[in-house]
């Protein structure tokens, strides 16, 4: 682990930055940077927990593996972001994942939405993947080298998530009458939670060149989404946005149940390892 203290920018394709390396970094992020890492880490963590539900329940074994892979990618991103955030407060990734209460989580409402049927999960995946790709492909230029390194690894994986959800949107939308009906319904249920992704918060002003301004991602996201919808012969759902607040710790009813399941083992057996 002697290399672990190396700069986070020393990242190569075969030697991507790992959470274990981040934990040993000598630099500590400023509080605002850590808060921002918490945003991104919590999004990834809660989404991964949601996706994990599909394991053993996907339509086919192959799709089971695909969704599990995506969930594991997200857990990887969450581990890196949370580990880095924790450096500011002398907390580990596990402290942050397992021992924070619901109002302390900073994830957006979109990722805590129920899986619904496969089409609804795919609709949520499409939105998340397009958003995360736009975000990470800009965060690679962050003034913070650790955030940039985490984004550099994540953007390649999210590129695949984008492709996976796009392929399924096309097949469901252009498949049978029933699959199309479900795809349209899934998009409609997902749409109210899109707006929150692009809402700026005062924290962004503090970050300067370190973070990515959410509102700046809206136009490229819309263009990317429209391209998929056009190909799938779908229309943007005409439903208003829901009230957000995830970045302020205000969550929908779903997060409590997700956290109960996520945290129960670590809280029942503090310090246990497995």
């Amino acid at each position: 682990m002697s290399e672990a203290n190396a700069s986070a920018t020393r990242i190569t394709p075969g030697n991507a930055l790992r959470p274990e390396d981040i934990a040993l970094l000598e630099t500590r992020p400023a509080d605002a940077v850590a808060q921002y890492a918490l945003w991104l880490g919590d999004d990834a963590l809660i989404l991964a927990q949601r996706l994990g539900w599909w394991i053993s329940r996907a339509p086919e074994l192959e799709e089971d593996v695909a969704l599990a892979n995506i969930a594991l990618d997200q857990i990887g991103h969450a581990r890196s972001f949370l580990t880095y955030a924790g450096r500011a407060w002398d907390k580990t990734e596990d402290d942050l994942a397992y021992f924070r209460r619901e109002p302390e989580f900073r994830s957006v409402h979109l990722v805590e939405q129920p899986n619904g049927d496969f089409a609804r999960t795919i609709a949520r995946q499409l939105v998340v993947a397009l958003y995360q790709w736009e975000l990470y492909s800009r965060l690679v230029d962050s003034a913070d080298p650790t955030l940039a390194a985490i984004a550099a690894k994540a953007v390649k994986e999210v590129d695949y998530h984008r492709d996976h959800s796009t392929q399924w949107v096309l097949r469901l939308a252009l498949g049978t009458e029933e699959s199309r009906r479900r795809m349209i319904a899934g998009l409609k249920l997902t749409w109210p939670y899109v707006e929150e992704l692009f809402t700026d918060h005062p924290l962004i002003d503090e970050l300067g060149e370190t973070g990515v301004r959410p509102s700046s991602l809206r136009a490229p996201f819309d263009a990317a989404l429209q391209a998929v919808l056009d190909e799938a012969e779908l229309e943007l759902p005409a439903v208003p946005g829901a009230v957000g607040g995830g970045r302020l710790g205000r969550h929908s009813e779903h997060l409590g149940y997700i956290l109960a399941e996520l945290q129960v083992l670590a809280r029942e057996h503090p310090g246990a390892s497995w």
């Binding site: 339509p59 192959e62 593996v65 049927d117 496969f118 492709d163 392929q167 097949r171 049978t176 699959s179």
Partner: protein
């Protein structure tokens, strides 16, 4: 996709007939992977996928998880013509005893260099 798949958090499932039909609709594909050091694609296994594009993606997820490959082929299993397992004798035992088909059968002639 299934006509009526698992419907999510409520745990309800569709009647099994829909699921059976859907399973039958996903054809089998054979997967070939070329490793970074390999010169040719080697058969890795098989999988189910609704079409060729998804088959390549499923192959990526199932057979290249540990950096195994740099290139993937998927072939519809139905497109592969196999030898008849019952015709093993006549198909594969003929070379036995025909040692002259191996280079080692021959002795070097006197004065021949660079062999």
């Amino acid at each position: 996709m299934t006509g009526g798949s698992t419907t999510g958090d409520d745990g309800a499932t569709a009647p099994s007939t829909g699921l059976q039909e859907a399973r039958a609709a996903w054809p089998l594909w054979e997967v070939f992977v070329r490793s970074s050091r390999g010169l040719s694609h080697v058969h890795a296994g098989s999988l189910h996928a609704p079409d060729a594009e998804m088959a390549v993606r499923n192959a990526r997820d199932l057979y290249t998880r540990r950096n195994e490959g740099v290139s993937l082929w998927v072939v519809p299993a139905s497109a592969i013509i196999t030898s008849d397992p019952d015709a093993k004798d006549s198909f594969f035992e003929s070379p036995q005893g025909k040692d002259y088909r191996h280079a080692t059968y021959y002795t070097k002639s006197e004065g021949v260099k660079h062999l």
